[in-house]
Amino acid sequence: MKSVKNANYWQLDHKVKKILEVKGVTILPSPRAWEKFNWTRKWFKEKPKEGYFVWVKKQTSFPLTTCVTIASPKISQNLTNLLVIEKNIKTEANVLCNAVRGNLCGSHRAQGKLILKEGAFLEYNHFHKWGEKDSVEPNYEFILEKDSKLIYNYQNLLPPKNLRLITAFHNKESSSVQANLVINGLNSKTELKESIFLEGKNSQGILKLRLVGKKKGQIEAKSTIIAKSPSKGHLDCQGLLVDKDSKISLTPELICQNKLAQITHEASIGRISEEELNYLRMRGLTEEEAINLIVSGFLKS
């Protein structure tokens, strides 16, 4: 994400600073979409206070970008977002939620619904960059209709003080999701709850978690795959503890309700290998540089 200058939607505190519509894509503040399009009420449930509505009706040749920023002290955002990708449309979305400074004590709550219609494809890159005193609670629900495909990448570049991230994926027939969540738990408390519901025949879901506990970081992750139909799912949860004051708790859960479904998981938590650390130090890296390099590799693995 280069800058907010390229954003299609930019909200600063509670104010919509910019909307850049492109051909075939409707972008509105969520309260306005509630008023203008009756059908959105099925998804919004009640009139939103703030947030964005993005409706992709035609193919775009570049990624759609949204940016929601906290810039003033003690701001409490309460967003309701809706993203709808029409049938057979392929697109990419870059989503940044951030605070401009570390000491704003902001609160960011977001309820999001993302609908991928039949045959749609979405690569959704979700970046968080918060201040060390912020509190963040995103709750996203992805509806994947028949034959749709989602690649979801979440990365918290700078963690807030408290992060509670709830994500649910509902997979209809022959749809697939690959979700990759990278959490750098640096002096923060993180609670993750991800669920993949394999509802349709031949649906697929892969959930990959890479968690790093560093500088008193506390991470608790509960990941669930529920197979309700002949489907396939896999959980891959790995944690890396960098110091003794951090804690990672992983709870992978598989619930199989169909005898033709195949769901698997692997989970592990380890610490940095002394051998790797010494190896890199013998190449001239300081202990901190070596740890950072090993951690960055782990998060990419």
């Binding site: 790797e276 190449r283 890296l285 300081t286 390099l293 782990f298 990419k300």
Partner: protein
């Protein structure tokens, strides 16, 4: 001659076991030496201790490099002074590509190696063959511009063609006209020595250097004939 590296009466333990029992070694600038020894004689431990691996505890003795006592210096500072080591069995670093490490450690900007380019985009030592690991190790020590390189079993597990290739790279990069780097070859089989003819060949047995000989061929012959176990009885034994 002033020694580049001087090791005095080094006594080292790991997990309470004495591994090096009073090692003395001196290597001059640009000098090639060899260290031979049986399995578990302390060869790799000596290399790791010279580079400052904190796993090993130095109970007694000193390590001097360019006149400076580096016995308590952290590894990265020893590397900055100009000491480099190729590991016998380097660990895999998942998710980190070789070029990413080389970018961080290289003394030259935009360092482009002639050999091993195909390894640059791969994760360090992940699924590397034996030969690829050796080339990767060579690239890493090359990029640090060393004054002394310790090659720990650079010839182990390689066929004669690969040993020849490794020897060619070492000659070209470390023993060229512009610079002469001091080298310590640690070897079990001695295969690499035929390409370099070391000035002194040391033999270490049970944590002590028991022999220092100018003619490496003699040492290899004796080891071949009597084995390391009988090395102590050999007429080449140094005082």
């Amino acid at each position: 001659m002033n020694a580049l590296l001087k090791i005095e009466n080094l006594l080292v333990t790991a997990n309470g076991n004495e591994i090096l029992k009073g090692v003395n070694l001196k290597i001059g600038p640009g000098e090639i030496q060899a260290l031979l020894g049986p399995n578990a004689s302390g060869k790799s431990t000596l290399a790791q201790v010279i580079l400052g691996n904190p796993k090993y505890k130095i109970k007694k003795g000193k390590i001097i490099f360019q006149g400076k006592d580096i016995t308590r210096l952290p590894s990265e500072k020893r590397v900055k002074l100009g000491i480099a080591l190729t590991w016998q069995s380097p660990p895999a670093i998942k998710g980190v590509k070789l070029f990413q490490l080389l970018e961080r450690i290289s003394f030259k900007k935009d360092y482009q190696p002639e050999e091993g380019k195909e390894l640059l985009e791969r994760e360090i030592n992940v699924d590397f063959s034996g030969g690829e690991k050796k080339i990767s190790e060579l690239l890493q020590v090359l990029s640090s511009n060393p004054k002394l390189v310790i090659f720990d079993e650079i010839d182990s597990g390689l066929d004669i063609k690969k040993i020849e290739k490794v020897a060619k790279i070492i000659k070209k990069e470390f023993l060229g006209k512009k610079m002469k780097v001091a080298i310590l070859f640690i070897t079990h089989s001695g295969g690499i020595l035929n390409f370099f003819k070391p000035k002194i060949t040391n033999v270490i047995v049970k944590g002590k250097i028991i022999c220092k000989e100018k003619d490496y061929r003699k040492v290899l012959r004796v080891i071949k004939k009597y084995g390391y176990e009988k090395c102590k009885k050999c007429q080449l034994l140094a005082a």
